[in-house]
Structure formats: structure tokens, C-alpha cells
């Protein structure tokens, strides 16, 4: 790719990028959200046309999306061979299709049952299906967009084993990611992007994760707020709680959160975290016992009653569960406090959030949907913490936001803890949990698998527990 440019509206997403991929290498493309790396991958794949510049490749380019694009109700072979089904006259040659998928799976060491229906498969296997679909096209260039986002640590290792074998056969592989540990462990070269431009290129062996992080941010990575000594008192007690929320199931969970501490829930997406957060928010019923500040929470309590008690949840999906995107910042800041605050104070509440959380642009009238993800998240976190909650449930509070905004959000959570709030931090990013939590609970298959104090964090053990190994 040479001199590639692409503009979306007022944003110059990709601004004159040169990138070369060689056969047999794993090349990491890193950068913050909005740096332009996904756009660049889409241009390389041919899904987005560049305004300027040229893309040339020898052979087929394959792309595996971050969010799987599988047809859930079809079988594995139907997904892998979609639109390339072997035929016999008018009919699909099912036996040949199965054989082809089996052969492909064996060749790359990606074991799958060709007849399994995709929706019944765990994420790790779905990803194999996605990969097999691209491999069936025999790509010479394979683009992987955040391929390990939904994988357990052990799955990540085996995924890269597969990818390395693929590279050894001569495929050029581009991994778009923000996980620097993986970049260091598995890539040969790394390209760093910031604001649409390439700011650094390295042989991975000649750089470090810290150096890459500084290049991504364009300066020092901001430090987190200091942890003050706190006197902790019991706040939330969870005893034998089971709940179900859409596809998420929590089974017989017991733990406690004390005021003045951050409890981190470590786990891979889809292991009951959503059911836990929703049960605490009062949006799904539960069985078992929940006690908050000594009082029993009822299973049929409304979300409003949880807010009144001082339990506030930062939901996982800010765009649908937290914000009204067509509204301005003021109306979004007061959402959840619309009755508690006097109308005359609405604008002040918004100004407080804008100031404390550095929302940009600092315009209370700005429409929420027009803000960047990071600034949207600052509004959600800001309105939650400025409401002086007793318990904050933060579910993936830094998902998809840049490093600076993430550090700010994490610092504010630590400050809320310092000030005596209880914080339950549910995150799929282990680094985030290790950076913030006083205690770590591991969740796997909807139940708690282990507990670690900040002083005794064992990364390998936590990873194994997350993957469901007892």
C-alpha cells in the first residue's frame, strides 16, 4: 500500500500511509481507537475504496472481522463454504462439503465438527470457523482485526500457534490489535499508527511494549491516581445468587464488596458477567440473597429503587444501554437523576461532568451521538460518579476508548474508592483489573472460580481459571 488516504466526513481517517506486508511474516498494526487501523485494514481488503493511493497484492486477500460475521443458525460447513459450495447438478454435494471442511481443518490443526450449528459453539470455536472460511479461499494475505478480543489466555496461545504455522507456509499476516503483549510475543514487525498516520515502524525484537505504548499515545502514558489507604466496611453481600440475562447465565454466585475497595471480576466475555451486572442494576430478576448496606434487595425491585439506594451501574454498551444519542450532553448527564435534580441545576450538573472528566468539546449542548466513544464514555462514567453512589458497578468501563481517556476513567474509579465508595469492576482486560482492583475474583461458566488479593495476584493461575481449568 502506498500513499493511501481516506476521509470520512470531517475526519481524515487514513492520511498517506505506506505499508508493506511480506510473505511469511506476522505484522502487527497497532494504534488507539480512531487511529485509522481498521480503516486501513478495510482498504487493504478492498471493502473501502481509498480516496488516494494504491493497493497491490499477489493473490487473494482474506479478512477476519473482530465481530464474527457468521450465520448463527447454519452449520459449520455451510458457513465455511458459503457461496463456494461444491455442487452436484442443482444440489449441494454435502458429503464433498464435509470432506472439504474436514481436510481444511486437519491441514491447519483447527479441529471443528463440520455439522455443528454455529450458534451452539463457544466463541473460540466460532473464531476457528471464521478463520477456516477465509483459509478455504487460500489467501496469500490474511488480515485479522482484533482476533483475540474474545479468547481466553490459553486460546490466545493456540491461536497464535496456528497463525505462526500459516505464516511459515508463506502467508503474509496482518494483525490489527491493541494488546501489546501479543504484539511483542508473536509479531515479526510492528507498525504504529496515530491520527491516521504511521508514526513508527519497528522490528518487534528491537522495541518494547512500553515504547510502543508511548508511540501510540504520542507522549507518556498517563499514570493512574494513587491508591489511598481506606477503612473498608461491608457494603454488598451476594449469597448464592443465580440470574439470567439474554444469553448470559450466572449460577450460585457468592462474594462481597466492601466500601472503599475495588473488586475486579476477571473473566472472558460470555461467562455470566452480563447477568451479574443486570441483576445488580435491577433489570433482571434473580434467586438467592442480595444484601446492600445491611438491607435485603428484593428480586423484583425496580431499577429506580437500586438507584435510590445508591447503586449505579455503568453498562457495557454505552450507545444503547446508557445514552440517548440524539440528545445533548445536559439531558444525558441528568439521565438517572432526572427526578433527584431540580431542573434549574441540570446545566450545572453537565458542566461539572464536562470539567471533572475533560469532555471534549466542552459544550453542554453538543449532541451525544456526535462525540467520540471516549467522550461518550466520560459522560456515562461522569454522571455515575458525580451522583455520589455508594456502589459503582463498572462493566467494561474503558471498552473502545483511547489510552488517555481510559486512564482518566480508571483514575476516577480509584478516586471514588479512595473516597469510600465500593467499586465492582467487571472487565475482559486483565491488565485493567490488575491495575485497579484490590481483590480479583475469577468468573468462568457463570460461577466464581477463584479469589486473589492484590498482593498475591498470580497471572498464570488466573488465566487458567478464566479458561475453566480448575
Amino acid at each position: 500500500m502506498t500513499g493511501v488516504r481516506r476521509r470520512f466526513g470531517a475526519v481524515q481517517a487514513v492520511d498517506g500511509v505506506d505499508l508493506e506486508l511480506f510473505p511469511g511474516e506476522i505484522h502487527a498494526l497497532v494504534g488507539e481507537n480512531g487511529a485509522g487501523k481498521s480503516t486501513l485494514a478495510a482498504i487493504a481488503y478492498g471493502a473501502v475504496k481509498p480516496d488516494d493511493g494504491a493497493v497491490t497484492s499477489d493473490g487473494v486477500v482474506g479478512l477476519v472481522h473482530q465481530h464474527f460475521k457468521l450465520i448463527e443458525r447454519l452449520r459449520v460447513w455451510e458457513n465455511v463454504l458459503l457461496n463456494r459450495e461444491p455442487r452436484r447438478g442443482w444440489a449441494i454435494d454435502v458429503a464433498a462439503a464435509r470432506a472439504r471442511v474436514d481436510k481444511l481443518a486437519a491441514a491447519y490443526g483447527l479441529a471443528v465438527d463440520p455439522d455443528a450449528v454455529v450458534e451452539t459453539l463457544p466463541v473460540g470455536i466460532k473464531q476457528r470457523v471464521e478463520l477456516l472460511r477465509e483459509l478455504d479461499r487460500e489467501p496469500t494475505v490474511l488480515l485479522l482485526d482484533e482476533p483475540t478480543a474474545a479468547l481466553a489466555p490459553s486460546e490466545i496461545a493456540s491461536f497464535f500457534t496456528t497463525i505462526s504455522a500459516l505464516a511459515a507456509r508463506g502467508t503474509a499476516i496482518l494483525v490489527v490489535t491493541h494488546k501489546l503483549a501479543e504484539v511483542i510475543a508473536y509479531s515479526r514487525r510492528v507498525t504504529v499508527m496515530r491520527a491516521g498516520r504511521v508514526v513508527a515502524r519497528h522490528f518487534t525484537s528491537e522495541t518494547s511494549a512500553d515504547a510502543i505504548a508511548r508511540e501510540m499515545v504520542g507522549g507518556e502514558v498517563p499514570a493512574l491516581a494513587a491508591r489511598a489507604a481506606t477503612v473498608t466496611v461491608p457494603l454488598l453481600e451476594v449469597r448464592g445468587v443465580s440470574a439470567r440475562s439474554a444469553t448470559s447465565v450466572l449460577t450460585d454466585a457468592s462474594f462481597a464488596v466492601r466500601a472503599g475497595e475495588i473488586v475486579g471480576i476477571a473473566g472472558i466475555e460470555g461467562n455470566g458477567q452480563t447477568a451479574l451486572a443486570d441483576a445488580l442494576a435491577g433489570v433482571v430478576p434473580f434467586t438467592g440473597e442480595l444484601r446492600f448496606a445491611g438491607e435485603v434487595l428484593r428480586a423484583d425491585d425496580s431499577p429506580a429503587s437500586r438507584l435510590q439506594r445508591g447503586i449505579r451501574v455503568i453498562p457495557q454498551d454505552r450507545r444503547h444501554e446508557a445514552l440517548v444519542l440524539s440528545w445533548n450532553v445536559i439531558d444525558n448527564v441528568v439521565l438517572g437523576r432526572q427526578r433527584a435534580l431540580a431542573r434549574a441545576n441540570y446545566a450545572d450538573a453537565a458542566r461539572e461532568v464536562i470539567e471533572l472528566f475533560d469532555v471534549r468539546p466542552p459544550d453542554p449542548q453538543a449532541i451525544a451521538g456526535a462525540l467520540s466513544g471516549g467522550n461518550q464514555q466520560k459522560i456515562v462514567v461522569g454522571r455515575t460518579l458525580t451522583a455520589q453512589p455508594k456502589l459503582v458497578v463498572a462493566y467494561q468501563p474503558t471498552r473502545g476508548i483511547d489510552i488517555g481517556a481510559a486512564a482518566l476513567v480508571q483514575s476516577r474509579l480509584i478516586e471514588a474508592r479512595n473516597a469510600g465508595a465500593g467499586v465492582l469492576l467487571i472487565s475482559f482486560e486483565l491488565d485493567e483489573i490488575f491495575a485497579c482492583a484490590d481483590r480479583v475474583l475469577v468468573i468462568a461458566n457463570g460461577t466464581f472460580a477463584g479469589e486473589f488479593d492484590r498482593a498475591n495476584i498470580d497471572r498464570g493461575r488466573i488465566g487458567a481459571l478464566m479458561a475453566g481449568h480448575a
Binding site: 433489570v283 438507584l307 451501574v313 446508557a322 445514552l323 440517548v324 439521565l335 438517572g336 432526572q338 431542573r343
Partner: protein
Amino acid sequence: MSAVLRRPVVRDIVVVLVVVFGVGSIAMLLAHVSPLDGFGALFDGAFGTRSELAETLVQTTCLLFPALGIAIAFRAGLFNIGAEGQLILGGFAAGWLGAQFPLPGYLAIPMVLLAGALAGGVWGAIPGFLRARFGANEVIATLMLNVVAALLATYLVNGPLQQGGAGASETGTLPKAAQLPDLIADSRLTWAFVLALVIAFVLRWVLQRTVFGYELRAAGDAPEAARRAGIDLSRTAFVAMALSGALAGLGGATIVAGVLHRFNTGLSPGYGFIAIAVALVGNLDPLWIIVASFAFGVLQSGGVAMQAEAGVPRDVVSLVTGLVIIALAGRRVVAKLRST
């Protein structure tokens, strides 16, 4: 320019103008009438004289009440297609009670109007309850309740609650005290027009400036975020539908107390349906809905003159109105049905 055109409000207005003048012209040409003569007669019939203008404002009023009701439901994320039925039952309750229980002047009019609002409100609250309690789709429920309302009113007025002659399909005449006072002498325009305008302004204030309005809009614009912010979606749906029906029912009561002075099963030429187009053209904003009601009022009242003077069938107005509804409401209905 293209950015301006892509704004929803502007796009809707362009759609409406194209439909009204484009399709209207084609229809007139098919009827062998010059569109210039046809539209000339239409506008002349709507504004030509003082009494014609008054009649246009009567039609405006008849559309404004149900359109405001439909807008309230829409803002809460609910599609009330049942305004017609709510309006008919409101009219029936007003007409029957007004004729049955003659009260002194200062009580008669409030009773008649309140009866209409209450009957329409109950009829709107039924699908609201079904939605809140069982998650029943209000589009289907309100649509079907229109038929039930029309048949119920016909049955009651000819059967158990008969006041006029057998088979007359109308109630007795309202006593003078229960009739709305004229706004313009020797016309059918009454203070109902002013009442509708006042309600439009109040409604806008309620939507934009009260916690109730805030929560209602949140429920409509982002239901999941609203629920998590402690807003009771079931309650909001129920209240919004009841209020929506009450406004349509009040509209029916003003037709009875102001225009016909009795309930007649044919009191509405489809105001409740036309009002859907009015609400959408008015971008669900009560103040713009006043303007939209006037525009459709012109079509309604001018259509009569168009038929009489230019020989264009009145049905052209129905055709045009129907197309506007399909153009503006169609995509919302489809989106709504897909989401549930």
C-alpha cells in the same frame, strides 16, 4: 444543499410537496382537468371568503386534537393508529351524555368535553395496558380497536343507548348549554380551535420542560437506556397511550359539541388516520403540528370546492393524503414491526 435536503424534516416536507402537487396534478390530468384550475379551486375554496377560511380552521381543529395525541404516543416510542376509534368513542360519550343529562351551561360543556376525553382515554389505555402488561404490539392492537370502536358506537347508538329514532345512527341533539360557543359568528368555528391551540402549547411545554416529558421522550428515544435510568417503561407506555387516546377523544367531543351538536356514526371522515400524516409532517413537535394541521385542513375544506367548481373528484384529496401517510409512516411502521 444536499446536506440540507438530507435533514429529516426538510426531506419530509419535500416528500409531501412532491406527493401533493405531483400526484395531485397527475390525478387531475387523468380526470381531464388542468391542475392549475384544480389547485386554484382548492385554494380558493379554502381561503376565498371569510366563511371558507372559518371552515378550513374547523378542519384544522378536527385534525389537531388527534394529531397531538398521536404525537404524544410517538414521542414515547408508540405508534397509535387507533386515534380514529378513540375519536369516535369520545364523540359518542360526549353526545350521549350531553343529550341524556342536560346540565347548566357552566357545567354542561366541561362535562361533555371531559366525557369525550375520558372515553377516548380508556380506549387508548386498553392497548397501553396490553403493551405494558403483556408486551402486546400496540400497532396491531390499536388498528383492530378502531373497528371495534366503530361497531360498538353504531351498536350503542342504535341499540341499548338509543336516543334518536330507530336506525338513525345518531344521538339526540345537545342542549344549547352544552354546545361550544362560536368563535366566528355564523360559522361552524368554535372556541374548540383556541382550546386545541392552547393544548398544543401546553403539550410542548410538558414534553420539553417537565420530568414527565423528559422521561416520556427518553422511553421513546432510547428505551434500554431509559429503563436502566429508573424510568418505568410499562407505566410510561400506559400513560402515554391513555393521554394519546384522551386527546383524540377530546377531538371527537369538540366535533359533537361544536360542529354537529349531536353524535353521528359518520362524524369523522377519517380524521384519526389523516392525523397520522399530520403528526409526522409536523415532525412530532406540537407547534409544527399546528402548521401541519392547517395545511391538511386546507386540503380537507378546499377539496369540497375543488369538486364543485373544477369537477375534480374529492377523492384526489384522500389519494394524496393516503400517499403522504404511506410515504412518511410506512418506514416507521416497518421499523417498529421489525423491532418487536
